[in-house]
């Protein structure tokens, strides 16, 4: 079982963003998978909601993507046996509170220990790591990292050696009215 996972809650992202991710994966990434899963339950009102996937999906091969990515070329193999996420140090040396980035996460089998460690003390951890859930991984969890595979978008030109970029703080590039090299890779229907 190969499972693609994403997470949508609140008003920031819409069904278009989910459809768009699936479209980019199906059209450009070359990734083959069996099911496309969406985490929609808003338990915490923030990105700690993503942790629900470690509870819900305890078998098979799993590959998670944030919705604010642009996939524009065939991707290298991202399926991993061990729990693996991105380390941004190679493009973000002054990384602040954490170098980790969970825009892409992969694992095989059961990593529910992450969920089990988090949920009983959710309030404590969300207060301790209030800048985002990625610091939780950095300080509390054993992890592997992907090779450099997903930099932040350059709005002038696509990164030639990569096939996926994260928008980082530039979520607005997915809104109607914004155009650039990335536009032709988005799902060709009305933008949100």
């Amino acid at each position: 079982m190969k499972r693609i996972i994403c997470c949508r809650f609140g008003d920031k992202f819409t069904q278009w963003h989910v459809d768009n991710l699936k479209y980019m994966i199906d059209t450009f990434s070359g990734i083959q998978y069996d099911t496309f899963e969406v985490i929609e339950e808003d338990l915490y009102g923030n990105w700690y909601n993503k942790f629900q996937m470690y509870d819900k999906f305890r078998d098979g091969e799993n590959l998670y993507f944030d919705l604010d990515v642009v996939i524009y070329k065939r991707l290298p193999n991202l399926w991993r046996k061990e729990f693996t996420l991105l380390d941004d140090k190679w493009w973000r040396p002054d990384f602040g509170h954490t170098p980790l980035n969970s825009s892409i996460v992969s694992w095989t089998g059961d990593v529910s220990h992450i969920w089990e460690k988090f949920w009983p003390y959710a309030d404590v951890y969300m207060k301790k790591y209030n800048l985002g859930s990625d610091e939780f991984y950095y300080k509390e969890i054993e992890y592997n990292i992907f090779d450099p595979v997903c930099p932040k978008i350059n709005t002038t030109t696509p990164h030639a050696a990569m096939g996926i970029v994260t928008l980082g703080q530039l979520h607005h590039l997915m809104e109607e009215g914004w155009t650039g090299w990335w536009s032709k890779y988005f799902k060709p229907s009305s933008l949100p």
Partner: protein
């Protein structure tokens, strides 16, 4: 292509401000342009209406800064971009204003004459005015690019510094800072339009004496007989209703009725 861009949101103004601004520019100009509005009301009258995203970290008037990005509003290389506030009444021919030549790395903005002597003497008068910006598409992209790296910081900086008195005000202070003072960027040439082209006016009923003083100051600085009495001085092209509480639609001056339609 010339693009004239505005932002409309909330309930301070009414949706017809947008159509009235663009229609009055077309009535008073021979220059072709494309009208664009970021709006939370899809029914405003503009050639292109782009959604005002309430879930964005970008607040209120700060959406205007998006137009500084060449990636926004379907800009093409070589386009001339004008960003205008909607609280303005066009009262004269604006060919020389909207058709003002502009070069790369240059910002055309209103020449403002109404700053108090105290503000000017203290060096606090801004070099730019948020009511009107004109620039070459993309040539001042740093204004947007630097802002969006930390929008919350910039959007509250001037409020926290007690420069402006309403939270999330200060957009023109930011633009002024970026183009005039921020030495990380290459120099931006600031060009001010002739100050006699622009009038500032107060619409509130208890602002009679403020308007008298504005008339006096305009006359003194521009050797004019009046700014706005029953009619608007023919040298004036635009009347700007500046201020957090100022509106146009709540007033029934005949010169507004004649020009704002």
């Amino acid at each position: 292509m010339l693009k004239i861009c505005t932002v409309y949101f909330g309930d301070k103004y009414t949706p017809d401000y947008v159509g009235k601004l663009f229609r009055s520019i077309r009535r008073n100009s021979s220059i072709q342009f494309e009208s664009i509005c970021i709006s939370d009301d899809p029914n405003v009258e503009a050639d292109i209406v782009l959604p005002y995203n309430r879930n964005s970290p970008v607040k209120l008037h700060w959406h205007k800064l998006k137009f500084f990005s060449p990636n926004y509003a379907y800009q093409k290389e070589g386009d001339d971009i004008i960003v205008m506030d909607i609280d303005q009444v066009i009262t004269g021919n604006v060919d020389d204003l909207i058709g003002h030549p502009v070069e790369e790395d240059e910002l055309i903005t209103y020449g403002v004459w109404w700053n108090s002597d105290e503000i000017v003497e203290q060096g606090l008068a801004l070099e730019t005015n948020g009511g009107f910006y004109k620039f070459k598409s993309g040539s001042l992209a740093f204004v947007w690019d630097d802002f969006i790296r930390n929008p919350e910081y910039w959007q509250t900086k001037w409020y926290k510094d007690d420069v402006v008195h309403f939270k999330y005000y200060g957009e023109q202070n930011y633009v002024n800072w970026k183009v005039v003072w921020d030495e990380r960027n290459k120099p931006t040439k600031i060009t001010k339009t002739p100050s006699e082209w622009i009038a500032k006016y107060h619409g509130a009923k208890d602002d009679y004496f403020k308007n008298v003083k504005l008339n006096q100051k305009y006359c003194k600085l521009h050797d004019a007989d009046y700014m706005i009495l029953d009619d608007v001085n023919t040298n004036i092209k635009v009347v700007h209703f500046l201020g957090p509480k100022e509106t146009i639609h709540e007033h029934n001056f005949k010169w507004i009725e004649d020009n704002w339609k």
